[in-house]
Amino acid sequence: MVDALRGQGRFHDPVARGRAGQALAACEAARLLVYRAVDRRARGSTAGVDASLARTAVVSAEHAVADFAVDFLPDTLTGTAFALHLAHHERAIASGIASGAAEIQLNLIARDHLQLPREAHS
């Protein structure tokens, strides 16, 4: 996406650069949390709540990147010239649903990472 913007001579826009930087930071944070969960598994432990922390971060990062395209490269989401942009957008909008809804991950983080009390049922 940055290459596409640069190709159009629009990446000097500080707003676009700032949003690209924010999305990149979100991706890097998610990447490290995923590696952390994998590392736990590789050491023989269950990934446990580390997987939920990673999944939550991945959803945020996916949307940061997808929103970057929507805000700065909307024309690339029409037609077939930018297949990767389209593929990413379709994956990103499902990222909070697939493999366990994001809200379920938040429940698990609340319970297992923050040790918050379970919701009382009547």
């Binding site: 940055v2 640069r6 990446f11 000097h12 500080p14 650069r17 700032g18 949003r19 690209a20 930087g21 924010q22 990149l24 930071a25 979100a26 890097e28 944070a29 998610a30 490290l32 949390l33 590696y35 952390r36 590392d39 736990r40 050491r43 922390l53 939550t56 971060a57 945020s60 809200e103 991950q105 938040l106 429940n107 983080i109 609340a110 990472h113 923050l114 040790q115 918050l116 009390p117 379970r118 919701e119 009382a120």
Partner: protein
């Protein structure tokens, strides 16, 4: 990157954990906005902890781990500058160290107890020893001891050589990111405890999903920032330091709001220690131009544009 501390680093972290445990309850709820801890500062100084960054077996990962852990305490000491900047940029100068960017007449944290002030402006880095009477303490909303230089032009400034000064922006990005992340870790734990104990409408506040989800989102953001900080300390790469500070500053606004919200009216008082963390973070949000400028700096580094963000004028 190793996700588990081993060897000398693991041992160092054990000592830091014990030190933090001794100071965990020393927040001194005296109603003041700031709780500076001379005893924590003394323990760190006498224990030689500030030398970690330049120890071959420890280095920046140990120094950053120390800043992360001790920033979780409600009381504060001058950490990031002495742990990261002092040993590398101006090792000959005494600590505590106050760091001021761009305008020497600004209020600066830790100036009231600093023995050295470091100034980065006009493409230069200079340091000056401080004497009694050089600093005017300043009242502030922020939970740091704040002060102003009385006569900045009259101080005996000395230039820092280029090889050392060029490391300052990345070290400071790393230190600020570590302090924000550690402070938010401490604040989140404090609020999680409150919503577990406090009951309303027949159940603990923390049992409400609306509260759980926002605190869980905060936890995910903070954990992501923590690993970005640790990675940046491990690689020493400018792009990783930029990612760490951009992430930390960006998450601060939403998380600080939520943490105060879930404390209800208690979160508006000075009686509860929450403000000791959040009003440090509120000051750190603006360091080196703030989240948006540091995100631009990250983009510049990632995609090869000429740097334009605050601090970049010191880059080689």
């Amino acid at each position: 990157m190793n996700f588990e501390a081993e060897g000398a680093l693991a041992t160092f972290q054990t000592f830091i954990d014990k030190l933090a445990g001794r100071h965990r309850d020393s927040w001194a709820g005296d109603g003041g906005r700031c709780a500076y801890s001379p005893s924590l500062d003394r323990d760190l100084e006498e224990g030689g902890y500030f030398a970690a960054a330049t120890e071959a077996e420890l280095g920046l990962p140990a120094a950053v781990a120390m800043v992360l852990e001790l920033s979780r305490l409600p009381a504060c000491a001058e950490l990031a500058a002495s742990a990261l900047v002092g040993p590398i940029v101006c090792p000959e100068m005494p600590r505590p160290l106050a760091v001021v960017w761009n305008d020497r007449r600004r209020p600066v944290r830790f100036l009231p107890m600093a023995r050295t002030v470091l100034a980065a402006d006009d493409g230069h880095v200079t340091v000056a020893r401080l004497q009694a009477g050089d600093v005017e303490p300043a009242e502030s909303l922020f939970a740091y001891p704040m002060g102003l230089l009385r006569h900045p032009d009259a101080l005996p400034w000395q230039r820092v050589e280029a090889a050392r000064r060029n490391r300052l922006p990345d070290l400071w990005r790393l230190g600020v990111a570590a302090e924000i992340t550690g402070s938010l870790l401490g604040a989140l734990a404090c609020v999680a405890d409150h919503v577990t104990q406090r009951r309303q409408f027949g159940r603990a506040l923390g049992a409400f999903q609306g509260i759980q989800h926002r605190l869980a989102s905060a936890a995910s953001l903070i954990e992501g920032s923590r690993w970005l900080v640790l990675k940046a300390a491990t690689t020493g790469a400018p792009i990783d330091a930029a990612a760490a500070i951009a992430s930390a500053q960006a998450m601060a606004r939403t998380i600080v709001y939520d943490l105060h919200q879930f404390l209800g009216a208690m979160g508006l008082t000075l009686e509860h220690p929450l403000h000791r963390w959040t009003y440090r973070v509120k000051l750190l949000r603006s360091e080196l131009g703030g989240a948006e400028r540091n995100a631009q700096a990250l983009a510049d580094l990632a995609w090869g544009l000429a740097p334009t963000a605050a601090g970049s004028e010191l880059a080689p």
